[in-house]
């Protein structure tokens, strides 16, 4: 797999896929998509990078261990739900803040943060497993 072409294209492909994954994540609330699919795409992106450059390089590019990313995602999702404690509301009550930037209405909400958490968990977990399998392949 480690052909020159693949090694050249892979980072580019990874970048495109990562951007696409974020797009899928963000549009999920209104169109098909969402955190899970987005996370899967992002993880695939990292896996492709790992195939091309080696699992070690991919992990290095991420700086932190992917499973820690998953942990962060879960913590984020959980804390997003906890936010409503401050407002005498039940767990996971959606809190919305609307901003207008450049005449485009932008909404920041806890469900969105939650979905980002989903994205991170899926990304982190699948990436961790994929990289570990790739590393195992290399070692075995």
């Amino acid at each position: 797999m480690n052909t020159l072409i693949f090694r050249t294209v892979a980072p580019l492909l990874t970048a495109v896929m990562l951007v696409f994954s974020v797009f899928v994540l963000l549009r999920g609330h209104n169109e098909p998509g969402g955190g899970f699919i987005g996370g899967l795409i992002a993880a695939s992106a990292l896996a492709i990078y790992g195939m091309a450059m080696g699992a070690e390089a991919a992990r290095h590019a991420l700086r932190v261990h992917p499973i820690a990313v998953a942990g962060f995602g879960l913590a984020l999702a959980g804390l997003a739900g906890m936010l409503s404690l401050a407002f005498d509301l039940p767990f996971m009550t959606g809190l919305w803040a609307m901003f207008e930037i450049d005449r485009v209405e932008v909404a920041i909400s806890t469900p969105m943060v939650f979905d980002i958490g989903v994205y991170l968990v899926v990304f982190g977990t699948i990436a961790a497993v994929a990289l570990a399998l790739e590393a195992d392949e290399g070692a075995g």
Binding site: N30, G33, I37, G78, G94, S109, P111, G124, L133
Partner: protein, 785 residues
């Protein structure tokens, strides 16, 4: 001093447990005098109980209760009446002497433990006889069994001791469970946990109750055919035999029968059963005692006989019989405990307990001899000892009657005579005649060990000299408690030489002397018989016990064979039965659906799915199977799109693709057998069960589809997703908002799966170690490289 019954009961029941828990520690502090310290505990109990005698003998029982589990109507209640007081005083009194004795009998570091167990047993026994509450009664009943288990197995390095302990635990355990069932039944019938509130139970469930109570009593008091554990229990150190297995614990069954007599007694079934089992045990024990040469075994068998005798008397159920039983209980506790202690002293002083190896000890062990004289005389029932009055009373009770009492009377006389013969043997054989060589040069036991037999013997004499007082203070109140009816004492010092109970006594003595003279011949005869028989209850227990173990092994092997596919087969069969069984049984099977209004492309997708499934199942090569898996996954994804579930379709597509990729990746690393190697009958069986499962699921689903679905939830989601939750994709809004908690759990699953998979992969990387040889797959790959 004002009598405080609550404090007295707490002291009597609770203090021994506290002392037991602390005793290993106390023992370390006080060392050699531990026995003396331990004896203080029952003495305190005795002193605390004594002030209650007055009130109780006046016919006023004392009830003490503490809240225990109020929400379940449960009180920790105790009742001090004539019966329980008689038992409690005996337990405390004999207990003090046995503890004292044990202090000298058992030296070394395990003494603390031993005395602790004895103390705990004493608390349990006191609780048992004092308890009014049925739950408490059961509790203490079981505790005596537990303590007995620990004490019988005290010499735990010997298999015989372990066997005896387990045997006793199992046999008395069965009885205990019967008692529990009886207690709960009584509560169900009367609505109260308290026995004193029960009244007569001769009504609903009476036969059941009699059966349960007698089963409990007969196992505890070692009645034939549950008797075999008691002789084996002699594996325990001698003080245990003296205390638990003659004077107190085994009397628990007798106590229970006496306690239940007001509630269950009076019916023929009760009386006849008791007299039959009691009589059988009396004769069995008396005869078997003749067979023994080990002094302890002889005494154990006579204990069986005495227990049978007590059951028989309780079965007779008249006032005289019960007074006789009370007196006999007291006399027996005094002389039998004394005899066991004497035997312990002989064992201690000579190193043997074999009656044929002992002789002429009277000069070397004079004090022991005196103790033996007193105990044996009581066993023979010589006047003016307590044993005599007990015997007179029981003969008088059965003298005038019909056939049944006459048979019982004959059994009594014969039994008493044989017991008397043993009494003579224990007295004469070791102490008279030639001095025989023994493993240890005969010497007298220390004072602490002699105090027991002497005091107990003296008490027997004193009690015999004051029968009127004894009758007034204990015997009559106890009899009243058993009869549920006040009675007065009629006991007085004196021998009615003209009364024919006396002449029956004379006959008993004569028979005893005759039996003693023919002892050796009788023993030889019995042994020959036994050799011919080749079977015994004891061996029967082994057969049942190991039969159970063997059965357990066979059943467990059968059910837990370790073959996953058979485990799965059972599950799938259950699945099929569960899905369709109730539906079918209750007549809810669905009608055959009439129309299938599918469009052609929908049919196409269905066909694709079917094709994928069939290929997966039939594929001869794994790779082909995995590709087919992808096909069916794709078909399902398409189906999702067709029914308006794009999110599902996309996700399904992604997941199936990933699955196929990973499967293919793993496949390349393994070389596996391609074909499904099931033989035809397995193939047919598996296929049949799977087919049933599929049909059952479809059938149940069709039945569900026959009725309209309430779409309230989805209507709500559709209506409020965009306006309230600010999302137009209702499915996504459900996932992150309406049912976000599901998703939180779901991502936890994903993350956890990641951790678990990483752990698996890492553990693979750590290999190969010395313990785990290199896997074949890797070896092969290396070879080809």
């Amino acid at each position: 001093m004002e009598a405080r019954p609550d404090i007295a009961v707490a002291l009597v029941v609770l203090l021994p447990f506290v002392a037991a828990a602390l005793f290993p520690l106390v023992h370390r502090l006080v060392g050699d005098v531990a026995g003396w310290v331990a004896a203080l505990v029952p003495l305190a109990g005795f002193a605390a109980l004594w002030p209650l005698v007055g009130s109780v003998s006046d016919g006023v029982p004392v009830r003490v209760a503490w809240p225990w589990a109020p929400s379940w109507g449960l009180e920790l209640s105790f009742l001090v009446d004539g019966l329980s007081l008689t038992f409690a005083l005996t337990i405390a009194g004999v207990g003090a002497l046995v503890l004292l004795y044990s202090g000298a009998y058992l030296k070394g570091h395990r003494q603390g433990l031993f005395l602790g167990f004895l103390l705990a047993f004493m608390g349990a026994m006191q609780g048992l006889v004092l308890a009014d509450n049925l739950v408490a009664l059961y509790l203490f009943w079981e505790l005596t069994s537990v303590a007995s288990f620990l004490l019988i197995g005290f010499d735990h390095t010997r298999q015989a001791a372990r066997r005896a302990a387990i045997q006793a635990l199992v046999v008395t355990g069965i009885g205990g469970l019967c008692l529990l069932a009886a207690g709960v039944t009584i509560r169900a019938v009367t609505g109260s946990w308290d026995l004193s509130a029960a009244g007569s139970l001769a009504g609903e469930a009476y036969p059941l109750l009699v059966g349960l109570v007698l089963a409990a009593a007969f196992t505890k008091s070692a009645q034939v055919p549950f008797h075999f554990w008691l002789p084996n229990a002699m594996e325990a150190p001698t003080p245990v035999s003296a205390y638990l297995h003659s004077a107190t614990m085994v009397q628990g069954g007798v106590y229970l029968v006496a306690r239940m007599t007001p509630h269950l007694g009076g019916e023929p079934i009760w009386n006849t059963t008791l007299m039959a089992f009691g009589g059988a045990t009396l004769l069995w024990g008396a005869v078997m005692a003749l067979r023994q040469t080990d002094l302890k075994q002889m005494l154990a068998q006579t204990t069986l006989a005495s227990l049978g005798l007590l059951m028989l008397l309780l079965g007779a159920g008249t006032e005289l019989a019960i007074t006789g039983a009370v007196l006999y209980f007291l006399a027996h506790a005094l002389y039998k405990a004394g005899l066991f202690l004497v035997v312990g002293a002989i064992d201690h002083g000579t190193g043997t307990r074999d009656i044929t190896a002992l002789g002429g000890l009277r000069d070397h062990m004079t004090v022991t001899f005196i103790g033996t004289i007193m105990a044996s005389a009581a066993m023979l029932g010589l006047p003016p000892l307590l044993g005599f009055f007990a015997k007179e009373e029981m003969y008088a009770a059965l003298a005038l009657g019909q056939v049944q009492p006459l048979v019982a009377l004959a059994a009594l006389v014969l039994g008493n005579a044989l017991l008397g013969a043993i009494g003579l043997a224990v007295l004469i054989k070791p102490f008279m005649g030639e001095v025989l060589p023994t493993p240890i040069r005969p010497h007298e036991a220390p004072m602490a060990m002699l105090a027991g037999p002497l005091v107990l013997g003296a008490l027997g004499i004193v009690a015999g000299l004051m029968p009127a007082q004894l009758g007034e203070l204990l015997a009559a109140p106890a009899t009243s408690a058993v009869l549920g009816d006040a009675v007065d004492t009629h006991l007085k010092l004196g021998v009615d030489l003209m009364g024919w109970p006396f002449w029956l006594s004379v006959a008993t003595w004569g028979l005893a002397a005759a039996a003693y003279l023919r002892l050796d011949a009788g023993r030889a005869l019995l042994r020959r018989l036994d050799g011919k028989l080749g079977w015994s209850f004891d061996r029967g227990f082994d057969a049942v016990y190991f039969g159970l173990v063997r059965l357990a092994g066979r059943v467990t092997r059968l059910l837990h064979h370790g073959r996953l596919e058979l485990y799965l087969l059972v599950v799938f069969a259950m699945l099929a039965v569960a899905a369709i069984g109730p539906l079918w049984a209750m007549g809810g099977l669905p009608a055959w659906p009439r129309t299938a209004d599918l469009r052609f492309y929908e049919w196409g997708v269905v066909a694709l799915a079917v094709a994928g499934i069939v290929t997966v199942v039939l594929a001869r090569s794994r790779l082909f199977a995995i590709l087919a898996l992808g096909v069916q996954g794709l078909a399902v994804a398409l189906l999702y799109l067709l029914v308006g579930a794009p999110d599902l379709g996309f996700t399904q597509f992604m997941v199936e693709t990933l699955s196929v990729v990973i499967l293919a990746l793993v496949m390349t690393r393994l070389d596996l057998d391609a074909a499904d190697g099931r033989p035809f009958e397995d193939w047919a069986r598996d296929g049949g069960v799977a087919l049933l499962g599929g049909i059952a699921v479809t059938g149940l689903l069709w039945a569900v589809l026959d009725r309209p679905l309430d779409l309230r939830l989805s209507d709500f989601f559709n209506a409020h997703a965009a306006p309230v939750a600010h999302g137009r994709n209702v499915v996504n809004v459900i996932l992150v908002d309406f049912r976000g908690l599901d998703t939180l759990g779901e991502i936890s699953v994903v993350m956890t799966a990641g951790i678990a998979i990483l752990a698996l992969i890492r553990s693979a990387r750590r290999r190969p170690t010395v313990a785990d040889p290199k896997p074949a797959a890797q070896r092969r790959r290396k070879a080809t490289a």
